[in-house]
Symmetry: C2
Subunit: 136 residues, 2 copies
């Protein structure tokens, strides 16, 4: 389902059903990898409570939060609040997750660099316990 | 001068005084080139009437318009309107300019790829005649 919102920067895009997300998340692809751009770029909408699985990027990823408020957590560290206007430069091969807070929707642009043909390695879901710990 | 605007996605940043822009344009740097990201990323604010010089990028550039409305023109082609939410994938080595319309401010994120240590080749200013032709 594609939905439009005149107040939003981008269309909401397609609901993600790839098994790498918990809750309702949507992807609007903005740019595919090509000969100049060694990354894919998309706008990801996380409804309240929605988050990625734990995952890594072999060549890192840049997030630009364009709406709302959410969480970014690297394994073994406390979750950090991220909000509209924030830029997060995620290092290579660091296990992490990102998503909305329990009560506030978040939208971010994701610029995901490639190493060869790979840009992400997906791991286990963020459990409700892990997520509630962030939202305490 | 750095100014903040609570409604805007990013800070307005520093006024550009490098001679590569006509009118009042501002840059908020969002990310520097590093080992994972072979690009620099910034938010550029063009007040009405402001525009870049003609220029090229050896490895292309991606623009994401986050506010307002402006122009993008490649040499020898008509100027195209660009507006909030648009993504422009600028090819390598194509002479072009971008900027606000005569009456509407524009803000865009610019993701500028590097070829070696170079990301742009700056050329002549866009004359008032060229700019008014776009705004007809």
């Amino acid at each position: 389902m594609t939905t439009e919102n005149n107040n939003a920067l981008f269309a909401k895009g397609e609901k993600l059903t790839n098994g790498y997300f918990t809750g309702d998340a949507y992807l609007e692809t903005l740019l595919q990898k090509d000969k100049n751009n060694n990354f894919v770029m998309g706008a990801v909408t996380f409804e309240p409570g929605a988050r990625t699985n734990w995952h890594t990027h072999p060549k890192g990823q840049v997030l630009i939060v364009t709406e709302g408020e959410g969480w970014y957590q690297e394994k073994g560290k406390p979750a950090k609040t991220i909000k509209k206007g924030d830029v997060i430069n995620i290092p290579e091969n660091v296990e992490h997750w990102h998503g909305a807070t329990a009560n506030i929707k978040m939208v971010h642009i994701a610029i995901t660099n490639y190493e060869g043909e790979t840009n992400a390695v997906w791991l286990k879901p963020v459990t409700d316990e892990e997520y509630h710990e962030a939202n305490k």
